[in-house]
């Protein structure tokens, strides 16, 4: 599928459908709850990334020249699965199996190139090093392939992120793009209270170009992802709202992972414009 021509309106429609999938799949995930908050904050990022950011398509999913999307914050899995479905990588039957026993789409993604899943994740601070390796590989192969690593702001607590950040700048990996979903919450509460830091200052200090933007702005994300590369790796600090789009989940730490009541599910469906009775 060529997505070059997708308008902002078309992307917004896809993002809207992704939110519906996240609400319904998470609710149907075997009654154990799901990571709603960190998926909902990622929706526009995922949509614009697959819609206009990356050079890859379902019929080229094994082409070594494809851009790579590494979801390092595996807790955002439902947003990845929804986007992979909306962009034609996985069918609906597989999508709705997410987080069911024995599924190929568990709570934390498992690498499966056939499905467009490039990386097993869940353990935080792993993706950026892997992305550095992919970017070094591309350079050795004289490929112009890009590597996009999606992380959470809480994830950047991990020291390994900074080992990788340091090396990416040292190696001059200009086609490596880190996107940090700055939703300002992590498992135990506010990131500012749990481990305060200046993300912009840190990424710049480590030698990266930094673009800060509203992570729910489709035009903003489009511009950022289409900004020509420089000589340095690039970090996009995307300010988001955890749980975005579901009223009672927005900016609520307890919805990092949770299980909705039927009443809450109806409210959530209303919020994202989904019929509660829809399949």
């Amino acid at each position: 599928m060529s997505a070059e021509g997708l308008t902002d309106e078309a992307l917004a429609a896809i993002a809207g459908r992704c939110r519906k999938w996240i609400v319904s799949i998470g609710h149907n995930a075997g009654g154990y709850g799901a990571h709603f908050g960190p998926a909902l904050s990622l929706v526009e990022i995922m949509t614009v990334l697959y819609g206009v950011g990356v050079r890859q398509s379902p019929d080229q999913r094994l082409n070594s020249e494809r851009d790579r999307v590494i979801l390092s914050k595996g807790h955002g899995s439902l947003a990845l699965y929804a986007a992979l479905h909306e962009f034609g990588y996985i069918d609906q039957e597989l999508l709705v199996s997410a987080e069911r026993d024995g599924t190929l789409l568990p709570g934390q993604p498992v690498r499966n190139r056939e499905l467009g899943i490039e990386f097993s994740s869940g353990t935080l601070g792993m993706g950026l090093s892997f992305g550095v390796g992919l970017a070094l590989s591309a350079r050795m192969m004289k490929s112009e392939r890009g590597v996009y690593v999606l992380m959470g702001d809480g994830e950047t607590n991990e020291g390994s992120v900074w080992e990788a950040a340091m090396s990416a700048a040292h190696f001059g990996l200009s086609r490596l793009i880190a996107i940090v979903d700055v939703n300002r919450l992590q498992s135990d509460g506010r990131t500012a209270e749990i481990m305060s830091c200046s993300l912009r200052g840190m990424w710049e200090g480590f030698g990266w170009d930094v673009i800060a933007l509203d992570g729910h702005s489709i035009p903003g994300l489009r511009v950022a992802l289409q900004t020509p590369i420089s000589t340095r790796p690039r970090c996009i600090l995307a300010s988001t709202v955890k749980g975005k789009g579901v009223s009672f989940m927005e900016d609520a730490a307890e919805w990092h992972h949770g299980l909705m009541t039927e009443g809450q599910f109806e409210t959530a469906c209303g919020d994202v414009g989904r019929r509660a009775s829809a399949p």
Binding site: S129, L136, H170
Partner: protein, 322 residues
């Protein structure tokens, strides 16, 4: 592959031999890349760095990143050899090894240099006596522990040719003895049976194979029938050879420059424990403590990992049991 003279390699030591083998193998395979965490010189990789700069990456003192980057390279079909001290490879970056090599099965070759007591006066921060125990429980990981420098050379080629996430454990020091393995060949996963014996059989790995051979020579001179097996691949362990020893030898002794918990001795015990009428097993290695620090030879002596001490202990054990 033609293995250079064993004595020449022995003078280079296990690390120098590794570096030489890696460079030779990389000349034959353009997929091999070299990485290190600030230990290029001491890993013997200087010539590789100079001759193949486009295929060499020094990531600084950052072992987690070392493994993560190597995995990203492997994902594209490169064959990365990544070096650091054995204890850092196994423990500082342990979860990266589990995730990338174990869970995602990336074809990375981690090279743990200075295993066992090779770091001498550096002391316990640099000794690696737990690495096999830590890594052996990770699924999908092959663990190789060569007995001498010729075997290091052969192992590098074999590992490069085998699509398997691997930990290569380099024990021993420069001038380590060459083990006479005439009549056997090096194949991953296949123990080398150096000799057979009915009274007792030594199973050694890495640097301790040559010690086992010398202890066996002493015991043979004292009238015992002694076998020696080189278990160079610790995982998957050669169950065929181990099961074959049952009924052929009256007692088993494992020897390793590693803790007696989790390493070769444990791996052998896990196999023979389930075998009816298996011979008794004596596990020699480093007892469960941080040993006193000293030179390589001093450390081995403190732990009784010396041929005549072993010969005496094993003779007493075997004759006492008889």
């Amino acid at each position: 592959m033609k293995i250079p003279s064993g004595r020449g390699l022995s003078r280079l030591g296990p690390r120098g031999t590794f570096g030489m083998a890696l460079l030779d193998a990389a000349k034959e395979s353009d997929r091999i890349v070299g990485l290190t965490a600030d230990l290029a010189i001491t890993s013997g990789m200087e010539r590789f760095r100079v001759q193949m700069p486009e295929r060499f990456f020094n990531v600084g003192i950052a072992e987690q990143n070392l493994v993560g980057i190597a995995a990203g390279l492997a994902d594209d079909g490169w064959i990365p050899f990544a070096t650091t001290f054995a204890n850092f490879a196994a423990m500082r970056s342990c979860e990266f090894v589990r995730h990338h090599l174990g869970y995602m099965q990336q074809n990375v070759k981690i090279v743990g240099i200075g295993a066992g007591f090779a770091m001498g006066q550096f002391g316990n921060t640099h000794y690696s006596l737990e690495d096999v125990g830590v890594l052996r429980s990770i699924p999908n990981l092959t663990i190789v522990s060569p007995a001498d420098c010729s075997e290091v050379y052969a192992a590098v080629y074999a590992i490069a040719a085998s699509f398997a996430p691997t930990y290569l454990r380099l024990s021993g020091v420069p001038s380590m003895p060459c083990v006479d393995q005439e009549g056997t060949s090096f194949n991953l996963g296949e123990a080398r049976v150096l000799r057979s014996g009915t009274d007792v059989t030594f199973i050694g790995t890495g640097s301790m194979v040559s010690v086992a051979v010398r202890a066996a020579n002493q015991l043979t001179a004292r009238g015992l029938s002694v076998g020696v097996v080189n278990m160079h691949t610790l995982k998957p362990i050669d169950e065929l050879v181990l099961n074959g020893l049952v009924g052929q030898t009256a007692a088993l002794v494992t020897i390793e420059e590693h803790s007696v918990i989790g390493g070769l001795g444990s791996a052998v015990a896990e196999v023979v424990a389930a075998v009816m009428a298996a011979p008794p097993l004596l596990r020699l290695g480093v007892c469960d403590a941080f040993p006193k620090v000293g030179s390589y030879e001093y450390a081995l002596e403190q732990c009784g990992l010396v041929d005549n001490v072993i010969a005496t202990a094993v003779e007493r054990w075997v004759r006492g049991a008889a």
